[in-house]
Protein backbone atom coordinates (compact mmCIF):
# COMPACT_ATOMS: atom_id res chain seq x y z
CA UNK A 1 0.00 0.00 0.00
CA UNK A 2 2.94 2.27 0.70
CA UNK A 3 3.84 2.65 -2.96
CA UNK A 4 1.22 5.08 -4.10
CA UNK A 5 1.37 7.13 -0.93
CA UNK A 6 5.17 7.23 -0.84
CA UNK A 7 5.34 8.28 -4.45
CA UNK A 8 2.99 11.23 -4.14
CA UNK A 9 2.73 12.55 -0.62
CA UNK A 10 5.76 14.86 -0.70
CA UNK A 11 4.69 16.99 -3.69
CA UNK A 12 1.14 16.96 -2.40
CA UNK A 13 2.24 18.16 1.02
CA UNK A 14 4.33 20.88 -0.65
CA UNK A 15 1.31 21.95 -2.69
CA UNK A 16 -0.81 22.34 0.44
CA UNK A 17 2.00 24.09 2.31
CA UNK A 18 2.46 26.65 -0.45
CA UNK A 19 -1.28 27.24 -0.43
CA UNK A 20 -1.97 27.33 3.30
CA UNK A 21 1.45 27.79 5.00
CA UNK A 22 0.22 25.66 7.87
CA UNK A 23 2.16 22.42 8.39
CA UNK A 24 -0.37 20.65 10.60
CA UNK A 25 -3.24 21.54 8.31
CA UNK A 26 -1.21 20.52 5.25
CA UNK A 27 -0.52 17.13 6.80
CA UNK A 28 -4.17 16.66 7.60
CA UNK A 29 -5.24 17.59 4.08
CA UNK A 30 -2.59 15.30 2.57
CA UNK A 31 -3.89 12.35 4.60
CA UNK A 32 -7.48 13.16 3.71
CA UNK A 33 -6.64 13.14 0.00
CA UNK A 34 -5.28 9.61 0.20
CA UNK A 35 -8.23 8.38 2.20
CA UNK A 36 -10.49 9.75 -0.53
CA UNK A 37 -8.32 8.11 -3.17
CA UNK A 38 -9.05 4.84 -1.46
CA UNK A 39 -12.76 5.54 -1.01
CA UNK A 40 -13.30 6.66 -4.56
CA UNK A 41 -10.87 4.36 -6.32
CA UNK A 42 -13.79 2.85 -8.21
CA UNK A 43 -14.40 6.18 -9.92
CA UNK A 44 -10.86 6.31 -11.29
CA UNK A 45 -10.95 5.71 -15.03
CA UNK A 46 -8.77 2.90 -16.27
CA UNK A 47 -5.74 3.96 -18.24
CA UNK A 48 -6.05 7.64 -17.36
CA UNK A 49 -3.25 9.46 -15.59
CA UNK A 50 -3.22 9.23 -11.82
CA UNK A 51 -1.70 12.59 -10.89
CA UNK A 52 -4.41 14.81 -12.41
CA UNK A 53 -7.01 12.74 -10.61
CA UNK A 54 -5.05 13.06 -7.36
CA UNK A 55 -4.86 16.84 -7.65
CA UNK A 56 -8.53 17.13 -8.53
CA UNK A 57 -9.27 15.36 -5.27
CA UNK A 58 -6.73 17.61 -3.52
CA UNK A 59 -8.53 20.74 -4.72
CA UNK A 60 -11.86 19.35 -3.53
CA UNK A 61 -10.43 18.45 -0.13
CA UNK A 62 -9.09 21.96 0.30
CA UNK A 63 -12.34 23.54 -0.85
CA UNK A 64 -14.31 21.38 1.59
CA UNK A 65 -11.99 22.32 4.40
CA UNK A 66 -12.27 26.01 3.63
CA UNK A 67 -16.02 25.97 3.34
CA UNK A 68 -16.05 24.72 6.93
CA UNK A 69 -13.42 27.08 8.32
CA UNK A 70 -13.26 30.03 5.98
CA UNK A 71 -13.14 32.99 8.39
CA UNK A 72 -10.40 31.42 10.52
CA UNK A 73 -8.17 30.51 7.59
CA UNK A 74 -8.30 33.99 6.19
CA UNK A 75 -7.43 35.51 9.50
CA UNK A 76 -4.42 33.25 9.96
CA UNK A 77 -3.21 33.99 6.48
CA UNK A 78 -3.46 37.73 6.96
CA UNK A 79 -1.52 37.52 10.21
CA UNK A 80 1.25 35.54 8.62
CA UNK A 81 1.61 38.01 5.78
CA UNK A 82 1.81 40.87 8.24
CA UNK A 83 4.44 39.04 10.26
CA UNK A 84 6.82 38.49 7.40
CA UNK A 85 6.59 41.95 5.89
CA UNK A 86 9.03 43.93 8.12
CA UNK A 87 11.85 41.44 7.58
CA UNK A 88 11.74 41.67 3.84
CA UNK A 89 14.02 44.68 3.57
CA UNK A 90 16.70 43.29 5.84
CA UNK A 91 17.48 40.16 3.93
CA UNK A 92 19.12 39.31 0.63
CA UNK A 93 17.29 40.28 -2.53
CA UNK A 94 16.51 36.73 -3.57
CA UNK A 95 14.98 36.03 -0.22
CA UNK A 96 13.06 39.29 -0.32
CA UNK A 97 11.74 38.31 -3.73
CA UNK A 98 10.55 35.04 -2.30
CA UNK A 99 8.85 36.67 0.63
CA UNK A 100 7.16 39.23 -1.61
CA UNK A 101 6.17 36.51 -4.01
CA UNK A 102 4.69 34.50 -1.16
CA UNK A 103 2.69 37.54 -0.10
CA UNK A 104 1.54 38.25 -3.63
CA UNK A 105 0.51 34.62 -4.05
CA UNK A 106 -1.42 34.57 -0.81
CA UNK A 107 -3.44 37.54 -2.05
CA UNK A 108 -4.40 35.91 -5.32
CA UNK A 109 -7.83 34.31 -5.41
CA UNK A 110 -7.58 30.67 -4.37
CA UNK A 111 -8.22 29.20 -7.81
CA UNK A 112 -5.49 31.28 -9.45
CA UNK A 113 -3.07 30.38 -6.71
CA UNK A 114 -3.76 26.69 -7.21
CA UNK A 115 -3.41 27.12 -10.94
CA UNK A 116 0.03 28.75 -10.72
CA UNK A 117 1.36 26.36 -8.09
CA UNK A 118 0.37 23.39 -10.22
CA UNK A 119 1.49 25.04 -13.45
CA UNK A 120 5.03 25.29 -12.14
CA UNK A 121 5.08 21.55 -11.35
CA UNK A 122 7.24 19.96 -14.06
CA UNK A 123 5.52 16.60 -13.60
CA UNK A 124 2.14 17.90 -14.69
CA UNK A 125 1.60 18.46 -18.41
CA UNK A 126 -0.69 21.11 -19.87
CA UNK A 127 -3.13 18.31 -20.64
CA UNK A 128 -3.00 17.13 -17.00
CA UNK A 129 -3.73 20.66 -15.83
CA UNK A 130 -6.61 21.03 -18.25
CA UNK A 131 -8.04 17.82 -16.76
CA UNK A 132 -7.58 19.07 -13.20
CA UNK A 133 -9.25 22.40 -13.90
CA UNK A 134 -11.88 20.98 -16.20
CA UNK A 135 -11.13 23.10 -19.27
CA UNK A 136 -9.40 22.80 -22.64
CA UNK A 137 -5.62 23.25 -22.87
CA UNK A 138 -6.04 26.52 -24.76
CA UNK A 139 -8.42 27.92 -22.15
CA UNK A 140 -5.94 26.83 -19.54
CA UNK A 141 -3.20 28.87 -21.20
CA UNK A 142 -5.36 31.96 -21.17
CA UNK A 143 -6.14 31.42 -17.50
CA UNK A 144 -2.46 30.96 -16.61
CA UNK A 145 -1.64 34.15 -18.48
CA UNK A 146 -4.31 36.07 -16.59
CA UNK A 147 -3.23 34.66 -13.26
CA UNK A 148 0.38 35.62 -13.98
CA UNK A 149 -0.71 39.15 -14.83
CA UNK A 150 -2.63 39.41 -11.56
CA UNK A 151 0.34 38.02 -9.68
CA UNK A 152 2.54 40.59 -11.35
CA UNK A 153 0.33 43.49 -10.21
CA UNK A 154 0.36 42.17 -6.66
CA UNK A 155 4.09 41.56 -6.69
CA UNK A 156 5.18 44.91 -8.08
CA UNK A 157 2.66 47.10 -6.29
CA UNK A 158 2.31 45.30 -2.98
CA UNK A 159 1.43 48.43 -0.99
CA UNK A 160 -1.66 49.16 -3.11
CA UNK A 161 -3.38 45.97 -2.17
CA UNK A 162 -2.66 46.06 1.55
CA UNK A 163 -6.00 46.39 3.22
Amino acid sequence: MGLLFDRHYRPLFGFFMNLTRQPALSEDLTQEVFLRVLRYSASFKEGSAFRPWLYRIARNVLADHQSRLQPLTHLQEAEQVADTRPDAHQVAEAHADRVLLGQALSRLPQEKRELLLLYKDPDLSSQDLATIFGCTPSTLKVRVHRAMNDLRSLFFQPQEVTS
Binding site: E27, Y119, K141
Partner: protein
Amino acid sequence: MMCQDFQTEILDGQKKEAATDASKALAEHLAQCADCRDLQRLMEGLNALPHPDPPEGLSQRFHQRLALELAATSKSHPFLGSWWMPLSAAALLLLSAGMSLGFLLRGGRDDSGMARLRRGSAADRMEAIALVNQQNSGPVEMVPALLDRIGHDPSLEVRLSAVEALYIFCSDPEISPRIELALSAQDRPEVQLALIDLVAALRQRRAAEALRRLIREGGLPAEVRQRAKQRLAQMSL
Protein backbone atom coordinates in the same frame (compact mmCIF):
# COMPACT_ATOMS: atom_id res chain seq x y z
CA MET B 1 6.99 39.80 -32.63
CA MET B 2 4.97 41.47 -29.94
CA CYS B 3 5.29 41.31 -26.13
CA GLN B 4 2.26 39.01 -26.15
CA ASP B 5 4.15 36.41 -28.18
CA PHE B 6 7.21 36.58 -25.98
CA GLN B 7 5.10 36.23 -22.88
CA THR B 8 3.44 33.16 -24.32
CA GLU B 9 6.91 31.78 -25.00
CA ILE B 10 7.94 32.44 -21.39
CA LEU B 11 4.88 30.66 -20.00
CA ASP B 12 5.10 27.76 -22.46
CA GLY B 13 8.76 27.34 -21.57
CA GLN B 14 7.58 26.23 -18.16
CA LYS B 15 6.00 23.07 -19.51
CA LYS B 16 8.08 20.06 -20.46
CA GLU B 17 6.45 19.53 -23.83
CA ALA B 18 7.63 22.96 -24.98
CA ALA B 19 10.99 22.85 -23.26
CA THR B 20 13.31 24.06 -25.96
CA ASP B 21 16.01 26.60 -25.18
CA ALA B 22 14.64 30.08 -24.95
CA SER B 23 14.85 31.63 -28.40
CA LYS B 24 17.49 34.16 -29.31
CA ALA B 25 14.73 36.61 -30.16
CA LEU B 26 13.32 36.26 -26.65
CA ALA B 27 16.72 36.86 -25.07
CA GLU B 28 17.16 40.01 -27.14
CA HIS B 29 13.67 41.18 -26.32
CA LEU B 30 14.16 40.59 -22.59
CA ALA B 31 17.26 42.77 -22.67
CA GLN B 32 15.14 45.75 -23.59
CA CYS B 33 11.62 45.07 -22.29
CA ALA B 34 11.10 45.50 -18.56
CA ASP B 35 7.56 44.16 -18.76
CA CYS B 36 8.55 40.80 -20.15
CA ARG B 37 11.58 40.69 -17.86
CA ASP B 38 9.22 41.03 -14.90
CA LEU B 39 7.16 38.12 -16.11
CA GLN B 40 10.28 36.00 -16.55
CA ARG B 41 11.45 36.95 -13.06
CA LEU B 42 8.11 35.96 -11.58
CA MET B 43 8.13 32.62 -13.35
CA GLU B 44 11.64 31.97 -12.02
CA GLY B 45 10.45 33.05 -8.59
CA LEU B 46 7.59 30.56 -8.69
CA ASN B 47 10.02 27.81 -9.65
CA ALA B 48 12.31 28.78 -6.79
CA LEU B 49 9.55 28.55 -4.18
CA PRO B 50 10.68 26.14 -1.49
CA HIS B 51 9.40 22.58 -1.50
CA PRO B 52 8.52 22.28 2.15
CA ASP B 53 9.53 18.88 3.51
CA PRO B 54 6.76 16.87 5.10
CA PRO B 55 7.12 16.61 8.88
CA GLU B 56 8.75 13.53 10.37
CA GLY B 57 6.37 10.61 10.71
CA LEU B 58 3.67 11.83 8.33
CA SER B 59 3.71 8.57 6.44
CA GLN B 60 3.44 6.55 9.66
CA ARG B 61 0.59 8.66 10.96
CA PHE B 62 -1.24 8.23 7.68
CA HIS B 63 -1.01 4.47 7.87
CA GLN B 64 -2.28 4.53 11.44
CA ARG B 65 -5.22 6.68 10.40
CA LEU B 66 -5.89 4.38 7.48
CA ALA B 67 -5.90 1.35 9.77
CA LEU B 68 -8.40 3.09 12.07
CA GLU B 69 -10.58 4.01 9.14
CA LEU B 70 -10.55 0.46 7.85
CA ALA B 71 -11.25 -0.94 11.30
CA ALA B 72 -14.25 1.38 11.56
CA THR B 73 -15.44 0.19 8.15
CA SER B 74 -15.26 -3.46 9.11
CA LYS B 75 -17.04 -2.75 12.39
CA SER B 76 -20.01 -1.24 10.61
CA HIS B 77 -19.90 -4.01 8.00
CA PRO B 78 -18.61 -7.02 9.96
CA PHE B 79 -18.73 -9.27 6.93
CA LEU B 80 -16.23 -7.07 5.08
CA GLY B 81 -13.75 -7.85 7.81
CA SER B 82 -10.67 -9.68 6.81
CA TRP B 83 -10.19 -8.93 3.19
CA TRP B 84 -11.42 -5.37 2.74
CA MET B 85 -8.01 -4.15 3.85
CA PRO B 86 -5.91 -6.22 1.41
CA LEU B 87 -8.34 -5.41 -1.36
CA SER B 88 -8.05 -1.68 -0.68
CA ALA B 89 -4.32 -1.99 -0.56
CA ALA B 90 -4.34 -3.79 -3.87
CA ALA B 91 -6.55 -1.07 -5.32
CA LEU B 92 -4.00 1.55 -4.30
CA LEU B 93 -1.11 -0.36 -5.82
CA LEU B 94 -2.95 -0.76 -9.08
CA LEU B 95 -3.93 2.88 -9.20
CA SER B 96 -0.29 3.81 -9.03
CA ALA B 97 0.17 1.99 -12.31
CA GLY B 98 -2.79 3.78 -13.86
CA MET B 99 -5.14 0.84 -13.61
CA SER B 100 -8.30 0.19 -11.73
CA LEU B 101 -8.93 -2.91 -9.75
CA GLY B 102 -11.55 -3.93 -12.27
CA PHE B 103 -8.91 -4.03 -14.94
CA LEU B 104 -7.30 -6.98 -13.21
CA LEU B 105 -10.54 -8.64 -12.46
CA ARG B 106 -11.90 -8.55 -15.98
CA GLY B 107 -13.33 -11.86 -16.93
CA GLY B 108 -15.42 -12.34 -13.80
CA ARG B 109 -19.10 -13.15 -14.08
CA ASP B 110 -20.84 -10.10 -15.36
CA ASP B 111 -23.68 -9.98 -12.89
CA SER B 112 -21.43 -10.67 -9.94
CA GLY B 113 -20.15 -8.21 -7.38
CA MET B 114 -16.82 -8.28 -9.20
CA ALA B 115 -18.43 -6.70 -12.25
CA ARG B 116 -19.97 -3.95 -10.16
CA LEU B 117 -16.71 -3.52 -8.33
CA ARG B 118 -15.04 -2.49 -11.56
CA ARG B 119 -17.59 0.10 -12.64
CA GLY B 120 -19.77 1.48 -9.88
CA SER B 121 -19.79 4.60 -7.77
CA ALA B 122 -18.22 4.54 -4.32
CA ALA B 123 -21.48 3.38 -2.73
CA ASP B 124 -21.95 0.74 -5.40
CA ARG B 125 -18.48 -0.44 -4.76
CA MET B 126 -19.01 -0.86 -1.03
CA GLU B 127 -22.11 -2.88 -1.74
CA ALA B 128 -20.26 -4.91 -4.30
CA ILE B 129 -17.52 -5.71 -1.83
CA ALA B 130 -20.10 -7.03 0.60
CA LEU B 131 -21.73 -9.05 -2.13
CA VAL B 132 -18.48 -10.54 -3.34
CA ASN B 133 -17.56 -11.45 0.20
CA GLN B 134 -20.85 -13.25 0.72
CA GLN B 135 -20.16 -15.23 -2.42
CA ASN B 136 -16.95 -16.23 -0.72
CA SER B 137 -14.71 -14.92 -3.48
CA GLY B 138 -12.29 -12.24 -2.21
CA PRO B 139 -8.62 -13.23 -2.24
CA VAL B 140 -9.63 -16.58 -3.65
CA GLU B 141 -10.65 -14.75 -6.79
CA MET B 142 -8.04 -11.99 -6.54
CA VAL B 143 -4.98 -14.24 -6.54
CA PRO B 144 -5.80 -16.12 -9.76
CA ALA B 145 -6.75 -12.81 -11.40
CA LEU B 146 -3.39 -11.34 -10.42
CA LEU B 147 -1.51 -14.45 -11.54
CA ASP B 148 -3.33 -14.32 -14.85
CA ARG B 149 -2.15 -10.71 -15.39
CA ILE B 150 1.40 -11.68 -14.42
CA GLY B 151 1.43 -14.44 -16.99
CA HIS B 152 -0.40 -12.84 -19.88
CA ASP B 153 -0.65 -9.09 -19.77
CA PRO B 154 1.07 -7.44 -22.76
CA SER B 155 2.21 -4.53 -20.56
CA LEU B 156 5.30 -5.03 -18.43
CA GLU B 157 4.12 -2.34 -16.01
CA VAL B 158 0.87 -4.21 -15.43
CA ARG B 159 2.66 -7.47 -14.81
CA LEU B 160 5.04 -5.90 -12.29
CA SER B 161 2.19 -4.17 -10.45
CA ALA B 162 0.35 -7.44 -10.22
CA VAL B 163 3.47 -9.00 -8.64
CA GLU B 164 3.55 -6.16 -6.11
CA ALA B 165 -0.12 -6.66 -5.33
CA LEU B 166 0.56 -10.32 -4.57
CA TYR B 167 2.65 -9.32 -1.53
CA ILE B 168 -0.63 -8.45 0.11
CA PHE B 169 -1.69 -12.08 0.03
CA CYS B 170 1.57 -13.37 1.50
CA SER B 171 -0.18 -14.91 4.47
CA ASP B 172 -2.26 -17.18 2.24
CA PRO B 173 -0.58 -20.58 2.80
CA GLU B 174 -1.53 -21.82 -0.66
CA ILE B 175 0.15 -18.98 -2.49
CA SER B 176 3.76 -20.21 -2.59
CA PRO B 177 3.43 -23.14 -5.00
CA ARG B 178 1.29 -21.03 -7.33
CA ILE B 179 3.90 -18.30 -7.45
CA GLU B 180 6.64 -20.82 -8.12
CA LEU B 181 4.56 -22.17 -11.02
CA ALA B 182 4.07 -18.64 -12.31
CA LEU B 183 7.83 -18.09 -12.14
CA SER B 184 8.60 -21.16 -14.22
CA ALA B 185 6.06 -20.10 -16.85
CA GLN B 186 7.18 -16.46 -16.99
CA ASP B 187 8.84 -15.22 -20.20
CA ARG B 188 9.83 -11.64 -19.25
CA PRO B 189 13.14 -11.36 -17.35
CA GLU B 190 12.04 -8.27 -15.36
CA VAL B 191 8.99 -10.14 -14.12
CA GLN B 192 11.08 -13.22 -13.37
CA LEU B 193 13.30 -11.07 -11.13
CA ALA B 194 10.30 -9.59 -9.33
CA LEU B 195 8.84 -13.06 -8.81
CA ILE B 196 12.16 -14.37 -7.48
CA ASP B 197 12.13 -11.56 -4.90
CA LEU B 198 8.59 -12.50 -3.95
CA VAL B 199 9.48 -16.20 -3.59
CA ALA B 200 12.46 -15.23 -1.41
CA ALA B 201 10.24 -12.99 0.73
CA LEU B 202 7.75 -15.81 1.19
CA ARG B 203 10.49 -18.28 2.19
CA GLN B 204 11.88 -15.81 4.69
CA ARG B 205 8.43 -15.27 6.09
CA ARG B 206 7.90 -19.00 6.50
CA ALA B 207 11.30 -19.35 8.15
CA ALA B 208 10.47 -16.52 10.52
CA GLU B 209 7.18 -18.17 11.42
CA ALA B 210 8.95 -21.46 12.11
CA LEU B 211 11.49 -19.73 14.36
CA ARG B 212 8.76 -17.90 16.23
CA ARG B 213 6.92 -21.16 16.81
CA LEU B 214 10.13 -22.79 18.04
CA ILE B 215 10.80 -19.99 20.51
CA ARG B 216 7.21 -19.95 21.69
CA GLU B 217 7.01 -23.69 22.28
CA GLY B 218 10.07 -23.55 24.53
CA GLY B 219 12.17 -26.51 25.67
CA LEU B 220 15.21 -25.28 23.74
CA PRO B 221 18.70 -25.10 25.21
CA ALA B 222 19.46 -21.48 26.12
CA GLU B 223 22.14 -21.18 23.45
CA VAL B 224 19.87 -22.43 20.67
CA ARG B 225 17.04 -20.25 21.79
CA GLN B 226 19.38 -17.27 21.81
CA ARG B 227 20.51 -18.01 18.25
CA ALA B 228 16.92 -18.42 17.08
CA LYS B 229 16.02 -15.05 18.55
CA GLN B 230 19.06 -13.45 16.95
CA ARG B 231 18.19 -14.79 13.52
CA LEU B 232 14.59 -13.75 13.89
CA ALA B 233 15.65 -10.21 14.76
CA GLN B 234 17.75 -10.10 11.58
CA MET B 235 14.75 -10.92 9.42
CA SER B 236 12.77 -7.95 8.34
CA LEU B 237 9.54 -9.79 7.55
